[in-house]
């Protein structure tokens, strides 16, 4: 027992000093589990996130937009890959992680359970959803677990083009025909609140946050990030003549930030627990892809074996 306490204290001291934890270092079991859950959820979000945007690739309204969207969705797949492999360093494997997603045991970011109804939604997703994601990701570059931090550094390098791509679409629409403006405003109306929900529950309702902060897996709280997102994004909307769909939004000079309305936590909970607009479809699509891919994976493994590829080092 005492030894365990020593180990934990030494571990925490390393973290407090700003040291990085690597895969073969000792770590408390709950740290390991927390990370496996967080990293794999992050990975699932990237993969599921390919779907609401991917479905507009064939309908992109210009050749350039089509290529940019293809590249963005490809990046998201890549991010999922970096994260799955980072999670695997903690002693799990991709098959297991994917199985948790496919059987509904694992969560992913609730935002991807909303439908992309118009081309403007693609702009809103890049601007707001990637914007919110970036805020989380920047701080994760300094997280305590080495492979996770390194994956986040890679991801952040690639992420900046995603938000610019989205905002550029919204700009074009906001400066276009009345119908285009209306399309942009409508997308903002539907994506604003779900984007705020991306930062999770209020701090007081966030049970995992305390440990996460102590372990430097999380560097700022949900509410801190959400406030910063609002402060940053409202001027971006106003610049385009778009109205944020929040009647309580008002600048608070004393705190040098915006006061804003309350998130609909009922909606948040519904979507998180699987009853959002697209939860079933998203999961079904991923399960289908996995099942229909089984013959391919098996064939690849069989072929490698035939070629005697010696896949385990002698």
């Amino acid at each position: 027992m005492e030894n365990q306490l020593d180990l934990e204290n030494t571990f925490q001291a390393r973290i407090d000093k700003g040291e990085m934890i690597e895969p073969k270092d000792w770590m408390p079991d709950h740290y390991r589990k927390h990370l496996i859950r967080q990293i794999s959820q992050h990975a699932h979000s990237e993969i599921v996130g390919m779907l609401p945007e991917g479905n507009w690739i064939t309908r992109a309204p210009s050749l350039r937009a089509k290529m940019v969207l293809l590249a963005k969705v490809q990046d998201e797949g890549g991010h999922g890959l970096y994260l799955y492999t980072a999670a695997e360093t903690l002693g799990t494997d991709r098959e297991t992680i994917l199985d948790q997603l496919h059987t509904g045991k694992a969560k992913y970011s609730s935002i991807f359970n909303y439908p992309t109804l118009t081309w403007a939604d693609i702009g809103a997703v890049g601007w707001l959803v990637d914007g919110a994601a970036i805020m989380n990701q920047v701080m994760l570059q300094r997280t305590s677990y080495g492979p996770y931090a390194r994956a986040m550094v890679r991801i952040c390098k690639e992420e900046s083009f995603h938000q610019r791509q989205g905002y550029e679409i919204i700009c074009k629409l906001a400066n276009g025909t009345p119908e285009q403006k209306e399309m942009a405003q409508d997308a903002l109306n539907r994506w604003w609140w779900p984007s705020l929900m991306m930062f999770g529950p209020r701090d007081e309702n966030s049970p995992n946050s305390e440990n996460a902060i102590k372990w430097k897996i999380k560097r700022e709280t949900n509410d801190q990030l959400r406030q910063r997102f609002v402060n940053q994004t409202v001027p971006q909307a106003e610049y385009l003549g778009l109205k944020v769909p929040d009647d309580k939004l008002v600048w608070n000079e004393a705190k040098k930030g915006y006061d804003f309305g309350e998130v609909d936590w009922d909606e948040f909970n519904r979507v998180i627990s699987g009853n959002g607009p697209c939860n079933k479809e998203r999961l079904a699509a991923r399960v289908k892809a996995h099942e229909e891919g089984e013959w391919v994976r098996k064939a690849a493994a069989a072929h490698a074996k035939k070629k005697n590829e010696n896949l385990i080092a002698a």
């Binding site: 000792w26 890959l81 931090a149 890679r154 994976r297 690849a300």
Partner: protein, 97 residues
């Protein structure tokens, strides 16, 4: 046994930015054979032109040191496949590490 569904074994990827420079570990991926591992590495880790050459190595082929096994930090039964080398080069242009 040969008809088990899997994602393929894990490979570690090393990329050389420019000829003359060292190969740097940048992550891992799953692939079923050498050719696939090489191609996947190229698609995943060099599609922004980050490198001129790539090595892929089965994770299981890597022999890694363990952290100094002094007292608290000894992890006895670690025969895990997932090892990353304990040296790591911080990527250029990142100031927070």
């Amino acid at each position: 046994m040969s008809n088990q569904d899997s994602q393929g074994p894990i490979w570690e990827v090393f990329v050389q930015k420019k000829s003359g420079q060292p190969f740097v570990h940048c992550g891992s991926l799953h692939a079923f054979d050498k050719e696939m591992a090489l191609q996947n590495a190229r698609d995943l880790y060099t599609r922004r032109g980050e490198g001129s050459a790539v090595w892929v190595v089965l994770s299981s082929a890597i022999v890694a040191s363990t952290p100094e096994d002094v007292g608290p930090f000894f992890e006895p039964s670690n025969d895990k496949v997932y090892r990353h080398p304990t040296f790591y080069k911080v990527p250029d242009g990142i100031s927070h590490m």
